[in-house]
Symmetry: none
Subunit: 130 residues, 4 copies
DNA sequence: GTGGTCTAGACCACA
DNA sequence: GTGGTCTAGACCACC
């Protein structure tokens, strides 16, 4: 039971709060974060990544509004039980499509063959960050 | 000799000036914009897309700082001759890596297999926007 | 810990934004501005020198494109950590060459001997503006 | 009697017309261009350097206003006889000082020692452009 | 609090 | 004709 670890890049162009929101969203939809799972506390995440607690809080609030996580008094946030139905492959592919599409466009514009790009993709997929 | 036309989406979340910068950058690095090629004038682009000339100018200035384009006094901007050497595959892959890396992370988080993701990638790559 | 102060001359022929860019560039490359150092905020510089914030922002943006400084969200700009390696003498000489070359050409055209010119150079170098 | 050749850099930040003005001025003051010497025709200079004849003309006009050159009907421009007194070393050094001062400042800011800078200067002085 | 983006308009310099 | 510079002001996003 490794505690959930966010993968945050402060110098990315995508805002920190959104990086958190997106990760939780995908992991819940993908099923790797089951209903009822505890989320790390705002303070924990904030200190681990040296970011502002407000930022983490904003992400959690947004996820709560989306109905993906729930606040449990005196315990913190957990993955909402109501959202427990893992999405179908078709639906998950739908969510993946935009970034894949964008990546493909970049590859084409950079005149990189589909084979070279796919090779790179496999490499990156294999490299677990942790 | 179709004059270069930018593909601008004013309602995108990526700033207009950045859309221009990115397009030129990829076309130069990918080789589809050869050294010495004229860029459309600031005023032309601005009026075509109904945007402020300053916005276009900002994009051009940034590209000039990056060394991708050059000013020719009284004539406009051209693709820099110093960047005439089309980038090596290695360098272009370097530019592609970030988005591929991000796409791979998304796929993993969504619990989509590498094969399914690669299949999607090939589909997207094949679909020329034309 | 004197906060960084820019030396701006509004009546100079060199644009204000460029004066800022040049100062930061030389201080970073020369090592007097270490990696991680905070830069004064856009608004601070603007009000101190009674110039438009956009002008300062333009300078900072350009420095960011050059990779010399970084944005830290919600905090401001800092000297880029990637540029922490002070440039080699060779690289710094590369940056000095153009103006030296130009100065040498002027001396020759004015029929001033290399010795007289060097003497003048030593004098000027010695006079710290302090 | 090698015909006068201008050293023009179209990509310099100093305007082309000014490069011409400055060169003629320095060569007259330095004595290498004696009174009565012919200047190359506007067309010659323009075609040699692939620049606009208007630009050369503007430079010549400005030099004429300054009294450094004269228009001779049917023959072109010559170095003015009235300006024939070559300046003293002291006066010429005065003209050289600004750029030397600027070069010295750059060297200091780039943390380049006076000896290294002087060495570079001697190298550049020795390298005749032609 | 931080910087970013865009607009509108004026003026300049260069070719 | 080209691009550059600066201003003033509005609005947004992030921390």
């Amino acid at each position: 039971m490794v505690p959930l670890q966010f993968d945050i890049n402060p110098s990315s162009s995508v805002p920190i709060y959104k990086q958190i929101v997106d990760q939780v969203q995908r992991m819940v939809l993908g099923g790797s974060l089951g209903a009822g799972t505890d989320l790390p506390s705002v303070r924990t995440v904030a200190s681990q990544h040296a970011i502002n607690p407000m930022t983490v809080s904003k992400a959690y609030s947004q996820l709560e509004v989306m109905g993906l996580i729930q606040r449990v008094r005196g315990q913190g946030m957990i993955v909402a039980t109501t959202s427990s139905k893992p999405k179908s492959l078709k639906q998950r592919l739908e969510l993946l499509r935009p970034i894949i599409c964008s990546a493909a466009a970049h590859a084409r514009e950079l005149d990189i063959s589909v084979e070279d790009a796919v090779k790179e993709f496999r490499d990156q997929y294999g490299e677990e960050t942790k």
